[in-house]
């Protein structure tokens, strides 16, 4: 008995982690998947109902708006975060004075919650007392910046706040990537007469392919899950114009009590994340094994 315990001690110590994740992650996802095939309303029902909830989901105008918003947000969020992140990383890489201070400034938003960020931006973007008033007081009488209350433009306020929060993070990833490149490569290129621009554009950035890939995966992942920022900034409004899938899911589940439908929307999100993550994990694992 004692011998057996001693022999299996490592596995026993690992059991809580495996058990908890098995139950609370895999078990729960399977439960949600099952419920998405039932006609559950307030309480879960367990008779299968087929793909009804998914048909309902994709026929729902609100869900389509949510998916539309997600695509717009993801595209802009990605482009701006990556472009700003790369520019800052390359510029910071030029033996800048006070680099540490600047880096701290670019990255501090990552330490804040999206609720804090959202609260701050909501105040800055509000038309009566925010930026709009600031410019009008400065003499630009006709200056208008009321995206926050404009159905068409409100989604872009979420992009502004989201980019503000996450661009510094992309900067950190690229800076770490650039710093890991051997100095000799850059020196050799410079001796051959390559300009600094050519060095970055033709040599260093192509070498950053894994960093691009990582940033892409992380940013898409953040945007599919974005929930807090929308709650704090627009609550999905004006109307339902800034709804996104994560918000749709919680509203359908906890305010409208449509458990089956919300499970279907959750599974759509799950699949979207899996489509990005599984290739990523696969390539990471291959890289690790290749080492």
């Amino acid at each position: 008995m004692f011998k057996w315990l001693e022999k299996n001690l490592p596995k026993i110590v690992m059991a809580p982690a495996v058990g908890l994740i098995g139950w609370f992650v895999y078990g729960f996802v399977l439960w949600t998947l099952y419920i998405s095939f039932t006609n559950s309303k307030i309480l879960p029902k367990y008779e299968l109902w087929g793909f009804g909830q998914y048909e309902k989901l994709w026929a729902s105008r609100k869900w389509l708006i949510a998916v539309d918003n997600l695509l717009i947000f993801t595209a802009l969020f990605l482009i701006f975060c990556v472009v700003i992140g790369i520019i800052l990383a390359i510029f910071l890489d030029q033996k800048i004075r006070a680099e540490g201070l600047l880096r701290t400034i670019y990255l501090y938003p990552m330490a804040l919650s999206f609720i804090v960020t959202g609260t701050a931006w909501k105040w800055i973007l509000n038309p009566t007392l925010g930026i709009q008033k600031m410019f009008r007081d400065w003499g630009f009488e006709n200056f208008t910046f009321d995206w926050l209350v404009d159905r068409e433009m409100a989604i872009y306020t979420i992009v502004i706040a989201g980019v503000w929060q996450s661009a510094g993070f992309v900067m950190a990833l690229f800076l770490a990537g650039l710093r890991s490149v051997e100095d000799e490569i850059v020196k050799a290129a410079k001796i051959d007469g390559a300009s600094l621009f050519t060095v970055y554009w033709k040599i260093l950035l192509p070498m950053m392919r894994p960093v691009f890939f990582t940033s892409f995966v992380i940013l898409v992942h953040i945007s599919i899950k974005s929930y807090d920022l929308i709650v704090a900034l627009t609550q999905g409004g004006p109307g339902i114009s800034t709804t996104m899938p994560a918000l749709y899911m919680t509203q359908t589940a906890f305010h409208k009590s449509q458990v089956g439908l919300s499970a279907a929307s959750a599974m759509m999100m799950f699949m979207a994340v899996a489509a990005v993550i599984i290739p990523y994990l696969y390539s990471e694992l291959r890289r690790e094994n290749a080492r």
């Binding site: 490592p10 596995k11 110590v13 690992m14 982690a17 495996v18 908890l20 994740i21 609370f24 992650v25 078990g27 996802v29 949600t32 700003i84 520019i87 510029f91 030029q94 800048i96 701290t104 400034i105 670019y106 501090y108 990552m110 330490a111 804040l112 919650s113 609720i115 804090v116 960020t117 609260t119 701050a120 931006w121 105040w123 800055i124 007392l129 008033k133 600031m134 007081d137 950190a172 990833l173 995966v217 992942h221 899950k225 929930y227 807090d228 709650v231 704090a232 899938p245 994560a246 899911m249 919680t250 589940a253 458990v259 499970a263 929307s265 959750a266 999100m269 799950f270 994340v273 994990l281």
Partner: protein, 301 residues
């Protein structure tokens, strides 16, 4: 002759490139400072707004300097106005968050350390798959587990309580803490462990005598990461708690959204700073470790 020609044109070139370089340098600093002001702007606005009276806010602009060090809105945000019903303020929720964060960080870090230890130093057939199994937990969108989690907490009788949130944050922190410790311990030479085993040291003795003493950096990274994630969480907090058990982010959001009377932006901003200050302090004091956690665990949104 040719040599001198060459060197003089080279000098000219050098001279020219010196001016271009100087111009580029200025341009560089200009762009960097421009972006720095974009990043600082909201924080600046938050701080000055929190120090203004509502009268000043209506008269001035976002950037205008406050007339004095007016801390009243901070007092209101933290401790309320002192009248009964409808007076929401952050103090009790701040403590809720502390009570939630401390045990959740401790348990998830401990479980992650042990699991990472087993996965690297007591390897067995298929341990790679176990790691992958756990790692996948970093990526799932939490919407896919919200419904069953809400029911489970109800069945256990801990929905809408700090204990329930401790459980949730511990469980969903494990994939990250395991990832951190596993990647750290994998670079510790296995020979050390093997030698100790030959000397008759057991499973726990090896952990506490050999690995734990060298784990300080990764413990710091993990604790900071978990602290920031759990303190800043809103999804779990708002789904599984309401009213008195709510953590601070939920309370902040409720405070800002409550539109009972005139909006008091100064109090809103003071509240936002109070909710953000613990993680901000950690970031300023231990930025290096914060960034390390970020770049290795940032798969979470």
């Amino acid at each position: 002759m040719q040599d001198s020609l060459k060197s003089s044109s080279y000098k000219q070139l050098e001279q020219k490139s010196k001016y271009t370089n100087m111009f580029l340098r200025w341009f560089l600093y200009f762009i960097l400072i421009l972006f720095a002001s974009y990043f600082i702007f909201p924080l600046y606005v938050m701080v000055v707004t929190s120090l203004k009276t509502m009268e000043e806010i209506r008269q001035g602009t976002l950037l205008s300097w406050p007339s004095g060090l007016n801390l009243e809105s901070w007092a209101v945000a933290w401790g309320g106005r002192g009248y009964g019903a409808g007076d929401t303020f952050l103090r009790p929720y701040f403590w809720n968050s502390i009570k939630m964060v401390l045990p959740a960080v401790f348990f998830s870090t401990f479980i992650g350390a042990m699991t990472g230890y087993v996965l690297t130093k007591w390897r067995f057939k298929g341990d790679q798959w176990v790691f992958l199994f756990l790692l996948f937990g970093c990526f799932i969108p939490f919407q896919a587990i919200l419904l069953p989690m809400a029911r489970t907490l109800g069945v256990l009788g801990i929905s809408n309580s700090v204990i329930g949130l401790v459980l949730v944050h511990t469980v969903y922190g494990i994939p990250f803490t395991t990832l951190f410790f596993r990647n750290y311990y994998i670079s510790v030479p296995t020979e050390l462990v093997k030698a100790a085993r030959i000397d008759g040291a057991g499973f726990f003795k090896i952990f506490f005598k050999i690995l734990l003493p060298i784990s300080a950096p990764i413990i710091v990274v993990t604790v900071i990461w978990q602290f920031t994630q759990i303190w800043n969480d809103f999804l779990f907090g708002s789904t599984f708690s309401f009213g008195e058990a709510a953590p601070i982010q939920v309370a902040l959001n409720n405070m800002v959204l409550s539109s009972t009377s005139v909006k008091e932006y100064n109090v809103d901003m003071a509240s936002a700073i109070i909710a953000g200050i613990p993680t901000l302090i950690v970031y300023v004091l231990a930025g290096k470790y914060f960034i390390r956690g970020l770049t290795s665990g940032a798969v979470k949104g």
